[in-house]
Amino acid sequence: MKRIDLFLNEREVEKVCKAMLMAGASGYSVMRHVTGMGVGGEISEAMDFSSFGANAHVIVFIEASLLEGIREAVKPLLRRYGGVGFVSAAEAF
């Protein structure tokens, strides 16, 4: 299996998760209120009072065969709105 970790703005999470389900993922987990630093600068929770939002951390475990399809579905969204992704190996518990 593969594990994908995505970090992106909270407001785009819904779009990304929908795209992943369409691409065959059977589940996912989302942690909001993630702060951090990336090429887009520092992201804090300070603007949370507006609906601007901090980052979310999306974790998806998938069969390795799905990786390519999910990458194709998600990458354009990360390019458009910002955000990064990483892959690592995993197995069922």
């Binding site: 300070a46 009072f49 507006s50 194709e72 354009p76």
Partner: protein, 342 residues
């Protein structure tokens, strides 16, 4: 006169709590109002001003001056982004220029509320329907901002250089009107403000006993909650100001001069329409203030090419403190000078 007004404003509880927040940030205190508590206060303030505004709108009715005032407000929310865009475009790319411009066409509810508190202390009356003007200035500014960004960057859209961007190919061409209108009219804070306004109106018109029962929540608590929220705003504005140093003198200059200029235009309109002194101040504040709630959230979704730290930092790090601390009393001095007491 003007000095005493500035002092009176500086020594009011809301502005002092704002300063306390700024001081905490500057001194690097670990004072923090953790998320989502600021959101609680922000939702509360929107609900409360919406409701109260609706109640007063029900009392005043939709007379000629009311409609003229609201019309003028909407007009300003369309014109200000266009003129601001032209100025900003000289130094920024079209995405960033449009996003900043949209902020200045829209309003800052907290600045408006602080101005109301200021009028209350001075015992200068004002009309509740100004809240309706406030509520109706956000959406047009957002729409204009996005349209400007798209028109100005139009060539780019027609010759997409990122061929592999599936999203742009499938749903990204030109304006996404659905998303835009959703951001402009269904943005949570706009929706809550307008919704509460309508509810206040309906309750005042049809079950007036409810108005009284809401009062401890929407009226009595309001001043304290505003102070609490401004403490947080001080913390955030100070952080933003530090970030803005990177953005350079042009934007900082814009963030101070634009509100002054827009306030003067607002003063002219107020005089033209024959508003009373209180309403004139509030109208000036609407014109002078810039959004850091609804517009940034909307711009992030609809103009993701723009850099949020530019449009948030100008409106929240400079224009907001400027208006709250210096602007309001200065505008008031102008009002007292140019608007006849009724």
């Amino acid at each position: 006169m003007q000095t005493s007004l500035v002092l009176q404003n500086l020594l009011s509880a809301p502005v002092l709590f704002f300063f306390l927040g700024v001081l905490a940030a500057v001194l690097n205190s670990d004072l923090e109002i953790p998320s989502p508590l600021p959101k609680l206060f922000s939702l509360y303030l929107l609900l409360a001003i919406g409701f109260s505004g609706g109640v007063e709108l029900a009392h005043s009715g939709l007379g000629r001056l009311v409609l003229l005032t609201i019309g003028a407000a909407v007009l300003m929310s369309l014109l200000v982004p266009i003129t601001s865009f032209l100025v900003l475009r000289t130094r920024l790319d079209s995405y960033n220029a449009a996003a900043v411009a949209a902020s200045y066409g829209s309003i800052s509810a907290v600045t408006f509320i602080t101005a109301q508190s200021f009028l209350n202390v001075l015992k200068v009356p004002f009309d509740g329907y100004m809240v309706a003007a406030l509520a109706l200035m956000e959406s047009p500014a957002i729409v204009i901002g996005v349209v400007l960004a798209r028109l100005s960057a139009g060539v780019l859209d027609k010759n997409p250089d990122r061929g592999e961007d599936r999203l742009d190919n499938e749903e990204g061409r030109g304006l996404r009107w659905g998303e835009l209108l959703r951001e402009a009219f269904l943005n949570g804070s706009i929706f809550l403000l307008i919704g509460s306004l309508v509810i206040g109106y309906l309750v005042a018109a049809f079950s007036p006993a409810g108005v009284e029962k809401m009062e401890p929540f929407t009226e009595q608590l309001f001043y304290g909650a505003l102070c609490f929220f401004l403490l947080d705003m001080g913390l955030i504005a100070a952080q933003r100001l530090q970030e803005l140093r990177k953005a350079g003198a042009f934007l900082i200059g814009f963030a101070v001069l634009a509100p002054l200029l827009h306030a003067l235009v607002g003063l002219g309109i107020a005089r033209l329409l024959g508003m009373n002194q209180g309403d004139a101040l509030l109208f000036m504040v609407l014109c002078a203030s810039a959004s850091y709630i609804a517009v940034p959230a909307a711009m992030r979704m609809t103009v993701p090419q723009a850099n949020p730290s530019l449009y948030i930092s100008t409106s929240l790090g400079v224009t907001f403190p400027f208006n709250v601390v210096v602007g309001i009393p200065v505008y008031m001095a102008l009002v007292l000078r140019f608007i006849p007491a009724s």
